[in-house]
Amino acid sequence: MSQGSSAGSPGEAICVVPGDCLCAADDKHVAGKGTIERSGYIYSCLVGRVYTQQQEDKTELVEVRTGQEQNIVPTAGSVVTAKVTYVNPRFLRCEILCIGETVLKHKFRGMLKKEDVRATERDKVKMYECFRPGDVILAKVVSLGDALSYVLSTAENELGVALAHSEAGALMVPLSWAEMRCPLTQARELRKVAKIPPEDVAFRLARSADRRPRRRLSPGATGPLLSIQHTADQPEVQAVA
Protein backbone atom coordinates (compact mmCIF):
# COMPACT_ATOMS: atom_id res chain seq x y z
CA MET A 1 0.00 0.00 0.00
CA SER A 2 1.30 3.42 -0.90
CA GLN A 3 1.83 5.91 1.85
CA GLY A 4 0.97 9.55 1.29
CA SER A 5 3.45 11.47 -0.76
CA SER A 6 4.01 13.91 2.07
CA ALA A 7 4.97 11.19 4.52
CA GLY A 8 8.62 11.33 3.61
CA SER A 9 9.21 15.05 3.77
CA PRO A 10 9.63 16.24 7.35
CA GLY A 11 7.73 19.33 8.45
CA GLU A 12 4.75 18.61 6.26
CA ALA A 13 1.77 16.91 7.84
CA ILE A 14 1.12 13.30 6.95
CA CYS A 15 -1.84 12.48 4.73
CA VAL A 16 -4.11 9.82 6.21
CA VAL A 17 -7.28 7.98 5.23
CA PRO A 18 -10.00 6.46 7.43
CA GLY A 19 -8.78 3.42 9.33
CA ASP A 20 -5.13 4.49 9.42
CA CYS A 21 -3.54 3.92 12.82
CA LEU A 22 -2.00 7.20 14.01
CA CYS A 23 -0.42 6.36 17.37
CA ALA A 24 -0.99 4.63 20.67
CA ALA A 25 -3.59 6.21 22.92
CA ASP A 26 -1.39 6.58 26.00
CA ASP A 27 -0.94 9.27 28.68
CA LYS A 28 0.69 11.57 26.14
CA HIS A 29 -1.74 11.40 23.26
CA VAL A 30 -5.43 12.29 23.24
CA ALA A 31 -7.79 11.65 20.33
CA GLY A 32 -9.15 14.93 18.88
CA LYS A 33 -11.35 15.87 15.96
CA GLY A 34 -11.42 13.47 13.03
CA THR A 35 -9.96 10.60 15.02
CA ILE A 36 -11.32 7.71 17.01
CA GLU A 37 -9.81 5.79 19.90
CA ARG A 38 -10.16 2.04 19.70
CA SER A 39 -8.46 -0.76 21.64
CA GLY A 40 -5.60 1.39 22.83
CA TYR A 41 -4.81 3.12 19.56
CA ILE A 42 -5.88 6.32 17.85
CA TYR A 43 -7.22 5.84 14.34
CA SER A 44 -8.11 8.38 11.71
CA CYS A 45 -11.73 8.55 10.57
CA LEU A 46 -11.38 11.24 7.88
CA VAL A 47 -9.24 11.88 4.86
CA GLY A 48 -6.85 14.69 5.62
CA ARG A 49 -3.61 15.63 7.32
CA VAL A 50 -2.54 14.91 10.86
CA TYR A 51 -1.83 17.74 13.25
CA THR A 52 -0.74 17.51 16.86
CA GLN A 53 -1.21 20.21 19.43
CA GLN A 54 0.48 20.56 22.80
CA GLN A 55 -2.08 21.01 25.53
CA GLU A 56 -1.86 22.56 28.96
CA ASP A 57 -1.72 19.21 30.78
CA LYS A 58 1.31 18.23 28.66
CA THR A 59 -0.65 15.83 26.53
CA GLU A 60 -0.77 16.06 22.77
CA LEU A 61 -4.07 16.42 20.98
CA VAL A 62 -4.06 14.43 17.75
CA GLU A 63 -6.35 15.79 15.04
CA VAL A 64 -7.14 15.07 11.40
CA ARG A 65 -8.10 18.14 9.37
CA THR A 66 -9.70 17.83 5.97
CA GLY A 67 -8.98 21.36 4.84
CA GLN A 68 -12.52 21.81 3.61
CA GLU A 69 -15.76 22.82 5.26
CA GLN A 70 -16.48 20.74 8.30
CA ASN A 71 -19.85 19.11 8.59
CA ILE A 72 -21.01 20.88 11.70
CA VAL A 73 -24.33 20.67 13.47
CA PRO A 74 -25.65 23.16 16.06
CA THR A 75 -24.65 22.43 19.64
CA ALA A 76 -25.77 24.00 22.89
CA GLY A 77 -24.14 27.42 23.35
CA SER A 78 -23.34 28.16 19.73
CA VAL A 79 -24.52 31.48 18.31
CA VAL A 80 -26.54 31.06 15.15
CA THR A 81 -28.04 33.30 12.50
CA ALA A 82 -31.58 32.34 11.61
CA LYS A 83 -34.47 33.53 9.49
CA VAL A 84 -37.90 33.68 11.13
CA THR A 85 -40.50 31.66 9.26
CA TYR A 86 -43.48 31.54 11.59
CA VAL A 87 -44.61 33.51 14.63
CA ASN A 88 -47.45 32.86 17.02
CA PRO A 89 -48.16 34.28 20.53
CA ARG A 90 -46.23 31.50 22.31
CA PHE A 91 -43.20 30.83 20.12
CA LEU A 92 -41.58 31.36 16.75
CA ARG A 93 -40.03 28.99 14.29
CA CYS A 94 -36.97 29.77 12.23
CA GLU A 95 -34.44 28.31 9.86
CA ILE A 96 -30.86 28.26 11.10
CA LEU A 97 -28.65 29.54 8.29
CA CYS A 98 -25.23 29.97 9.90
CA ILE A 99 -23.48 28.66 12.95
CA GLY A 100 -20.93 31.22 14.10
CA GLU A 101 -19.25 32.24 10.87
CA THR A 102 -19.85 29.01 9.01
CA VAL A 103 -22.61 29.07 6.44
CA LEU A 104 -24.55 25.84 6.60
CA LYS A 105 -25.16 23.89 3.46
CA HIS A 106 -28.30 22.43 4.95
CA LYS A 107 -30.73 24.42 7.04
CA PHE A 108 -31.80 23.33 10.50
CA ARG A 109 -35.06 24.24 12.16
CA GLY A 110 -35.04 26.26 15.34
CA MET A 111 -37.64 27.42 17.80
CA LEU A 112 -37.69 30.40 20.16
CA LYS A 113 -40.16 30.38 23.01
CA LYS A 114 -41.77 33.52 24.40
CA GLU A 115 -40.00 33.23 27.76
CA ASP A 116 -36.57 33.07 26.08
CA VAL A 117 -36.94 36.32 24.16
CA ARG A 118 -35.36 38.59 26.76
CA ALA A 119 -33.86 38.35 30.19
CA THR A 120 -36.07 40.86 32.03
CA GLU A 121 -39.84 41.17 32.28
CA ARG A 122 -40.15 37.81 30.67
CA ASP A 123 -43.87 37.56 31.33
CA LYS A 124 -44.67 40.81 29.49
CA VAL A 125 -43.18 39.72 26.19
CA LYS A 126 -45.50 39.90 23.21
CA MET A 127 -44.11 37.91 20.34
CA TYR A 128 -45.55 40.16 17.64
CA GLU A 129 -43.79 43.15 19.18
CA CYS A 130 -40.47 41.38 18.97
CA PHE A 131 -40.34 39.41 15.73
CA ARG A 132 -42.02 39.17 12.36
CA PRO A 133 -41.69 36.47 9.73
CA GLY A 134 -38.76 37.19 7.42
CA ASP A 135 -36.58 38.83 10.10
CA VAL A 136 -32.98 37.70 10.40
CA ILE A 137 -32.11 37.08 14.03
CA LEU A 138 -29.05 36.24 16.07
CA ALA A 139 -29.70 33.68 18.77
CA LYS A 140 -27.94 31.23 21.03
CA VAL A 141 -28.74 27.52 21.05
CA VAL A 142 -30.06 26.60 24.49
CA SER A 143 -30.59 22.91 24.00
CA LEU A 144 -31.21 20.31 21.38
CA GLY A 145 -34.85 20.56 22.36
CA ASP A 146 -37.53 18.10 21.48
CA ALA A 147 -37.61 15.85 18.50
CA LEU A 148 -38.50 18.64 16.08
CA SER A 149 -36.18 21.58 16.48
CA TYR A 150 -33.35 23.26 18.36
CA VAL A 151 -34.43 25.57 21.19
CA LEU A 152 -32.96 29.07 20.90
CA SER A 153 -32.73 32.10 23.14
CA THR A 154 -32.26 35.83 22.50
CA ALA A 155 -32.02 36.84 26.18
CA GLU A 156 -28.85 38.93 25.71
CA ASN A 157 -28.24 42.46 24.44
CA GLU A 158 -26.21 41.18 21.50
CA LEU A 159 -28.98 38.82 20.43
CA GLY A 160 -32.26 39.54 18.68
CA VAL A 161 -33.29 40.98 15.33
CA ALA A 162 -30.31 41.82 13.14
CA LEU A 163 -32.07 42.62 9.88
CA ALA A 164 -35.74 43.33 9.31
CA HIS A 165 -37.84 44.61 6.46
CA SER A 166 -40.65 47.07 7.07
CA GLU A 167 -44.17 46.67 5.80
CA ALA A 168 -43.18 48.84 2.86
CA GLY A 169 -40.45 46.35 2.08
CA ALA A 170 -37.41 48.43 2.96
CA LEU A 171 -34.60 47.39 5.28
CA MET A 172 -35.17 49.09 8.61
CA VAL A 173 -32.73 51.08 10.71
CA PRO A 174 -32.51 50.33 14.44
CA LEU A 175 -33.52 53.18 16.78
CA SER A 176 -33.33 51.53 20.18
CA TRP A 177 -33.32 48.05 21.62
CA ALA A 178 -37.07 47.84 20.95
CA GLU A 179 -37.71 49.93 17.85
CA MET A 180 -36.72 50.12 14.20
CA ARG A 181 -37.56 52.71 11.57
CA CYS A 182 -38.41 52.31 7.94
CA PRO A 183 -36.26 54.66 5.82
CA LEU A 184 -39.01 54.97 3.19
CA THR A 185 -42.10 55.75 5.24
CA GLN A 186 -40.40 56.79 8.50
CA ALA A 187 -42.85 54.47 10.24
CA ARG A 188 -41.61 52.86 13.43
CA GLU A 189 -42.00 49.18 14.07
CA LEU A 190 -41.39 47.22 17.23
CA ARG A 191 -38.66 44.60 17.35
CA LYS A 192 -36.32 43.02 19.88
CA VAL A 193 -33.23 44.57 18.28
CA ALA A 194 -29.79 43.02 18.64
CA LYS A 195 -26.88 45.25 19.59
CA ILE A 196 -24.34 44.50 16.92
CA PRO A 197 -20.70 44.91 18.01
CA PRO A 198 -18.88 47.49 15.86
CA GLU A 199 -16.48 44.95 14.39
CA ASP A 200 -19.33 43.04 12.79
CA VAL A 201 -19.40 45.06 9.63
CA ALA A 202 -21.34 42.62 7.49
CA PHE A 203 -24.56 43.36 9.28
CA ARG A 204 -23.83 47.06 9.47
CA LEU A 205 -23.26 47.20 5.76
CA ALA A 206 -26.43 45.26 5.14
CA ARG A 207 -28.36 47.55 7.43
CA SER A 208 -27.23 50.64 5.58
CA ALA A 209 -28.58 49.29 2.35
CA ASP A 210 -28.70 52.68 0.62
CA ARG A 211 -24.95 52.89 0.39
CA ARG A 212 -24.28 50.21 -2.13
CA PRO A 213 -20.78 49.83 -3.48
CA ARG A 214 -20.45 50.48 -7.18
CA ARG A 215 -17.30 48.57 -7.66
CA ARG A 216 -16.34 45.32 -9.21
CA LEU A 217 -17.01 42.27 -7.11
CA SER A 218 -14.69 39.35 -7.24
CA PRO A 219 -16.33 36.08 -8.32
CA GLY A 220 -17.98 34.34 -5.41
CA ALA A 221 -17.83 37.46 -3.28
CA THR A 222 -19.59 36.98 0.00
CA GLY A 223 -20.47 39.01 3.02
CA PRO A 224 -17.30 39.00 5.08
CA LEU A 225 -15.28 39.76 1.97
CA LEU A 226 -17.47 42.75 1.31
CA SER A 227 -17.07 43.95 4.83
CA ILE A 228 -13.30 43.91 4.56
CA GLN A 229 -13.45 45.85 1.32
CA HIS A 230 -15.54 48.57 2.80
CA THR A 231 -14.13 49.14 6.24
CA ALA A 232 -12.38 52.21 4.90
CA ASP A 233 -15.54 54.04 3.90
CA GLN A 234 -17.57 52.43 6.60
CA PRO A 235 -21.01 53.97 6.75
CA GLU A 236 -22.04 56.01 9.74
CA VAL A 237 -23.40 53.71 12.35
CA GLN A 238 -26.83 54.24 13.79
CA ALA A 239 -26.89 54.53 17.53
CA VAL A 240 -27.88 51.30 19.11
CA ALA A 241 -29.00 51.45 22.69
Binding site: V79, T81, K83, L97, C98, G100, E101, V103, L104, K105, H106, V136, L138, E158, A162, L163, P197, D200, V201, A202, F203, A206, A209, R212, P213, R214, R215, R216, L217, P219, G220, A221, T222, G223, P224, L226, S227
Partner: protein, 279 residues
Protein backbone atom coordinates in the same frame (compact mmCIF):
# COMPACT_ATOMS: atom_id res chain seq x y z
CA UNK B 1 -20.49 36.47 14.31
CA UNK B 2 -20.09 38.06 10.91
CA UNK B 3 -22.76 36.34 8.96
CA UNK B 4 -22.44 35.62 5.33
CA UNK B 5 -24.51 37.85 3.10
CA UNK B 6 -24.93 34.99 0.67
CA UNK B 7 -26.88 33.04 3.25
CA UNK B 8 -28.88 35.87 4.77
CA UNK B 9 -29.66 38.21 1.94
CA UNK B 10 -29.08 36.41 -1.33
CA UNK B 11 -31.36 38.91 -3.11
CA UNK B 12 -29.39 42.00 -2.12
CA UNK B 13 -26.10 40.32 -2.90
CA UNK B 14 -27.36 39.36 -6.31
CA UNK B 15 -28.49 42.92 -6.95
CA UNK B 16 -24.98 44.11 -6.19
CA UNK B 17 -23.68 41.65 -8.72
CA UNK B 18 -26.15 42.78 -11.37
CA UNK B 19 -25.13 46.39 -10.85
CA UNK B 20 -21.58 45.36 -11.65
CA UNK B 21 -22.91 43.37 -14.61
CA UNK B 22 -21.09 40.33 -13.40
CA UNK B 23 -22.73 37.23 -11.95
CA UNK B 24 -21.59 35.38 -8.80
CA UNK B 25 -19.82 32.74 -10.90
CA UNK B 26 -17.95 35.37 -12.87
CA UNK B 27 -20.03 35.22 -16.03
CA UNK B 28 -21.31 38.17 -18.01
CA UNK B 29 -25.09 38.53 -18.12
CA UNK B 30 -25.40 37.08 -21.63
CA UNK B 31 -22.84 34.30 -21.22
CA UNK B 32 -23.74 30.66 -20.85
CA UNK B 33 -21.83 28.18 -18.74
CA UNK B 34 -19.20 25.94 -20.27
CA UNK B 35 -21.09 23.23 -22.07
CA UNK B 36 -19.75 19.77 -22.80
CA UNK B 37 -21.29 17.06 -24.98
CA UNK B 38 -20.00 13.50 -24.86
CA UNK B 39 -21.55 10.91 -27.11
CA UNK B 40 -21.80 7.16 -26.96
CA UNK B 41 -20.63 6.64 -23.40
CA UNK B 42 -23.16 3.96 -22.52
CA UNK B 43 -22.43 0.80 -24.49
CA UNK B 44 -25.58 -1.01 -23.37
CA UNK B 45 -27.78 1.64 -24.99
CA UNK B 46 -28.41 1.97 -28.73
CA UNK B 47 -27.59 5.65 -28.53
CA UNK B 48 -26.40 7.79 -25.66
CA UNK B 49 -25.07 11.19 -24.76
CA UNK B 50 -23.87 12.98 -21.67
CA UNK B 51 -24.27 16.74 -21.47
CA UNK B 52 -22.93 19.05 -18.85
CA UNK B 53 -23.48 22.75 -18.48
CA UNK B 54 -21.75 24.12 -15.41
CA UNK B 55 -22.87 21.95 -12.54
CA UNK B 56 -25.94 20.65 -14.36
CA UNK B 57 -25.46 17.23 -15.95
CA UNK B 58 -27.90 15.04 -17.83
CA UNK B 59 -27.27 11.57 -19.20
CA UNK B 60 -29.50 10.30 -22.00
CA UNK B 61 -29.66 6.68 -23.11
CA UNK B 62 -31.88 5.47 -25.94
CA UNK B 63 -33.05 1.89 -26.18
CA UNK B 64 -34.90 0.78 -29.31
CA UNK B 65 -37.58 -1.86 -29.01
CA UNK B 66 -39.95 -3.36 -31.52
CA UNK B 67 -43.68 -3.38 -31.01
CA UNK B 68 -46.89 -3.74 -33.00
CA UNK B 69 -48.63 -0.41 -33.52
CA UNK B 70 -51.89 -0.06 -31.65
CA UNK B 71 -55.02 -0.32 -33.80
CA UNK B 72 -56.00 3.32 -33.30
CA UNK B 73 -52.50 4.62 -34.08
CA UNK B 74 -51.05 5.27 -37.54
CA UNK B 75 -49.72 1.88 -38.70
CA UNK B 76 -46.57 3.20 -40.39
CA UNK B 77 -45.12 5.33 -37.60
CA UNK B 78 -42.90 4.45 -34.71
CA UNK B 79 -42.85 6.12 -31.34
CA UNK B 80 -40.48 8.22 -29.33
CA UNK B 81 -40.92 8.13 -25.57
CA UNK B 82 -38.73 10.63 -23.72
CA UNK B 83 -38.67 10.31 -19.97
CA UNK B 84 -36.73 12.70 -17.75
CA UNK B 85 -35.90 11.58 -14.23
CA UNK B 86 -34.99 13.99 -11.47
CA UNK B 87 -33.77 11.52 -8.85
CA UNK B 88 -32.94 12.43 -5.27
CA UNK B 89 -29.32 12.01 -6.27
CA UNK B 90 -29.20 15.22 -8.28
CA UNK B 91 -30.19 17.78 -5.65
CA UNK B 92 -30.69 17.76 -1.90
CA UNK B 93 -34.09 19.36 -2.37
CA UNK B 94 -35.47 16.25 -4.05
CA UNK B 95 -36.59 13.21 -2.13
CA UNK B 96 -36.78 9.61 -3.21
CA UNK B 97 -40.19 8.66 -4.49
CA UNK B 98 -42.39 8.64 -7.56
CA UNK B 99 -41.53 11.09 -10.37
CA UNK B 100 -42.27 14.68 -9.45
CA UNK B 101 -44.64 16.94 -11.33
CA UNK B 102 -41.67 18.91 -12.64
CA UNK B 103 -40.11 15.78 -14.11
CA UNK B 104 -43.36 14.71 -15.72
CA UNK B 105 -44.08 18.06 -17.31
CA UNK B 106 -40.49 18.32 -18.53
CA UNK B 107 -40.80 14.88 -20.17
CA UNK B 108 -44.01 15.97 -21.88
CA UNK B 109 -42.33 19.16 -22.99
CA UNK B 110 -39.39 17.28 -24.48
CA UNK B 111 -41.76 15.14 -26.57
CA UNK B 112 -43.69 18.20 -27.65
CA UNK B 113 -40.48 19.95 -28.69
CA UNK B 114 -39.27 16.97 -30.67
CA UNK B 115 -42.62 16.63 -32.43
CA UNK B 116 -42.88 20.34 -33.18
CA UNK B 117 -39.36 20.50 -34.62
CA UNK B 118 -40.12 17.72 -37.10
CA UNK B 119 -36.49 16.64 -36.71
CA UNK B 120 -37.41 12.99 -36.71
CA UNK B 121 -39.69 11.67 -39.42
CA UNK B 122 -41.36 8.85 -37.55
CA UNK B 123 -42.05 6.85 -40.71
CA UNK B 124 -38.33 5.98 -40.54
CA UNK B 125 -39.13 3.93 -37.49
CA UNK B 126 -41.54 1.71 -39.37
CA UNK B 127 -40.33 -1.81 -40.14
CA UNK B 128 -43.54 -3.19 -41.64
CA UNK B 129 -46.72 -1.13 -41.66
CA UNK B 130 -49.23 -2.44 -39.16
CA UNK B 131 -46.92 -5.23 -38.01
CA UNK B 132 -43.77 -3.91 -36.43
CA UNK B 133 -42.41 -0.47 -35.64
CA UNK B 134 -39.54 0.79 -33.53
CA UNK B 135 -40.18 2.46 -30.20
CA UNK B 136 -37.35 4.69 -29.02
CA UNK B 137 -37.29 4.82 -25.24
CA UNK B 138 -35.21 7.89 -24.47
CA UNK B 139 -34.41 7.85 -20.78
CA UNK B 140 -32.80 10.99 -19.41
CA UNK B 141 -31.33 11.04 -15.94
CA UNK B 142 -30.39 14.30 -14.34
CA UNK B 143 -27.20 13.48 -12.45
CA UNK B 144 -26.60 16.91 -11.01
CA UNK B 145 -29.12 19.74 -10.84
CA UNK B 146 -27.89 23.30 -10.84
CA UNK B 147 -30.61 25.09 -12.76
CA UNK B 148 -31.74 25.09 -16.35
CA UNK B 149 -32.27 21.34 -16.62
CA UNK B 150 -34.63 21.50 -19.59
CA UNK B 151 -32.01 23.08 -21.88
CA UNK B 152 -29.38 20.52 -20.97
CA UNK B 153 -31.86 17.65 -21.21
CA UNK B 154 -32.94 18.75 -24.67
CA UNK B 155 -29.31 19.02 -25.76
CA UNK B 156 -28.66 15.51 -24.41
CA UNK B 157 -31.71 14.14 -26.18
CA UNK B 158 -30.71 15.73 -29.48
CA UNK B 159 -27.13 14.51 -29.15
CA UNK B 160 -28.27 10.98 -28.26
CA UNK B 161 -30.55 10.91 -31.31
CA UNK B 162 -27.59 11.72 -33.55
CA UNK B 163 -25.64 8.96 -31.80
CA UNK B 164 -28.45 6.41 -32.22
CA UNK B 165 -27.72 3.49 -34.52
CA UNK B 166 -30.77 1.33 -35.22
CA UNK B 167 -30.22 -2.37 -35.86
CA UNK B 168 -31.43 -3.42 -39.28
CA UNK B 169 -34.68 -5.32 -39.07
CA UNK B 170 -36.80 -7.11 -41.65
CA UNK B 171 -40.29 -8.49 -41.50
CA UNK B 172 -40.48 -12.02 -42.84
CA UNK B 173 -44.00 -12.14 -44.29
CA UNK B 174 -44.03 -15.89 -44.89
CA UNK B 175 -43.08 -16.83 -41.36
CA UNK B 176 -44.77 -13.76 -39.86
CA UNK B 177 -41.81 -12.99 -37.70
CA UNK B 178 -39.15 -10.38 -37.35
CA UNK B 179 -35.49 -10.79 -38.21
CA UNK B 180 -33.19 -8.37 -36.44
CA UNK B 181 -29.51 -8.10 -37.20
CA UNK B 182 -28.02 -6.25 -34.21
CA UNK B 183 -24.60 -6.18 -35.87
CA UNK B 184 -25.76 -4.06 -38.83
CA UNK B 185 -26.69 -0.63 -37.62
CA UNK B 186 -27.64 2.57 -39.39
CA UNK B 187 -28.08 6.10 -38.10
CA UNK B 188 -31.36 7.98 -38.45
CA UNK B 189 -31.92 10.77 -40.94
CA UNK B 190 -32.52 13.83 -38.81
CA UNK B 191 -33.79 17.30 -39.64
CA UNK B 192 -32.87 20.37 -37.62
CA UNK B 193 -32.85 19.32 -33.98
CA UNK B 194 -34.57 21.38 -31.30
CA UNK B 195 -32.24 23.37 -29.02
CA UNK B 196 -33.42 25.51 -26.15
CA UNK B 197 -32.11 28.52 -24.28
CA UNK B 198 -33.51 29.80 -21.01
CA UNK B 199 -33.23 33.35 -19.72
CA UNK B 200 -33.96 34.56 -16.23
CA UNK B 201 -35.47 38.00 -15.66
CA UNK B 202 -34.38 40.30 -12.85
CA UNK B 203 -35.65 43.79 -12.10
CA UNK B 204 -38.35 43.41 -14.77
CA UNK B 205 -35.90 44.17 -17.59
CA UNK B 206 -32.50 42.61 -16.97
CA UNK B 207 -32.06 39.35 -18.85
CA UNK B 208 -29.63 36.70 -17.69
CA UNK B 209 -28.75 33.76 -19.94
CA UNK B 210 -28.51 30.17 -18.72
CA UNK B 211 -29.42 30.71 -15.05
CA UNK B 212 -27.70 28.56 -12.43
CA UNK B 213 -29.66 26.99 -9.57
CA UNK B 214 -29.40 29.97 -7.23
CA UNK B 215 -30.37 32.40 -9.96
CA UNK B 216 -33.33 30.24 -10.86
CA UNK B 217 -34.57 30.49 -7.27
CA UNK B 218 -34.07 34.26 -7.05
CA UNK B 219 -35.27 35.39 -10.46
CA UNK B 220 -38.60 37.11 -11.05
CA UNK B 221 -39.46 35.21 -14.19
CA UNK B 222 -37.87 32.89 -16.68
CA UNK B 223 -38.37 32.54 -20.42
CA UNK B 224 -37.50 29.42 -22.38
CA UNK B 225 -37.17 29.67 -26.15
CA UNK B 226 -36.42 26.65 -28.32
CA UNK B 227 -35.32 26.73 -31.94
CA UNK B 228 -35.08 24.08 -34.62
CA UNK B 229 -32.93 25.64 -37.31
CA UNK B 230 -34.57 28.96 -38.17
CA UNK B 231 -38.01 28.26 -36.81
CA UNK B 232 -39.07 28.64 -33.25
CA UNK B 233 -40.63 25.55 -31.72
CA UNK B 234 -41.33 26.80 -28.23
CA UNK B 235 -41.64 30.02 -26.33
CA UNK B 236 -42.61 29.36 -22.77
CA UNK B 237 -42.98 32.08 -20.23
CA UNK B 238 -44.89 30.62 -17.34
CA UNK B 239 -45.10 32.69 -14.26
CA UNK B 240 -43.18 35.57 -12.87
CA UNK B 241 -43.28 39.25 -13.57
CA UNK B 242 -44.70 40.95 -16.63
CA UNK B 243 -42.40 41.71 -19.52
CA UNK B 244 -42.49 44.37 -22.18
CA UNK B 245 -42.55 43.24 -25.79
CA UNK B 246 -39.15 44.87 -26.30
CA UNK B 247 -37.71 42.64 -23.60
CA UNK B 248 -39.34 39.67 -25.33
CA UNK B 249 -37.65 40.66 -28.58
CA UNK B 250 -34.32 40.69 -26.79
CA UNK B 251 -35.11 37.24 -25.34
CA UNK B 252 -35.74 35.94 -28.83
CA UNK B 253 -32.51 37.39 -30.20
CA UNK B 254 -30.38 36.13 -27.30
CA UNK B 255 -31.88 32.66 -27.41
CA UNK B 256 -31.36 32.45 -31.13
CA UNK B 257 -27.69 33.27 -30.70
CA UNK B 258 -27.34 30.64 -28.00
CA UNK B 259 -29.12 27.99 -30.05
CA UNK B 260 -26.70 28.62 -32.91
CA UNK B 261 -23.81 28.07 -30.51
CA UNK B 262 -25.35 24.83 -29.32
CA UNK B 263 -25.93 23.72 -32.90
CA UNK B 264 -22.26 24.30 -33.68
CA UNK B 265 -21.40 22.26 -30.61
CA UNK B 266 -23.59 19.40 -31.83
CA UNK B 267 -22.19 19.56 -35.36
CA UNK B 268 -18.61 19.57 -34.09
CA UNK B 269 -19.00 16.19 -32.52
CA UNK B 270 -21.09 14.38 -35.09
CA UNK B 271 -18.29 11.90 -34.98
CA UNK B 272 -18.36 10.14 -31.67
CA UNK B 273 -16.28 11.98 -29.17
CA UNK B 274 -16.06 14.77 -26.71
CA UNK B 275 -16.12 18.39 -27.61
CA UNK B 276 -15.81 21.19 -25.18
CA UNK B 277 -16.91 24.70 -25.72
CA UNK B 278 -14.99 27.17 -23.63
CA UNK B 279 -16.60 30.43 -22.72
Amino acid sequence: MAADMRAIQPESLYKLHLECEERPDGRKLDAARTTVVTRGGITTADGSAFCRSGHTSVLCGIKAEVCTPATDAPPDRGWVVPNLELPALCHHRFRPGPPSEAAQTASAQLLQLLDASGALDRTQLCIEAGQAVWVLYCDLICLSHDGNVLDVALLALSAALTDLRLPSAEWDATEERLRVKPAQRTPLKLGPLPLAATLAVFDKETLVLDPAGDEEMLCEASVTVAWAGDSMVLLDKTGGCELSLEAMDRCIALSKKRSLELKKLLDCCTQSGEVEKGE
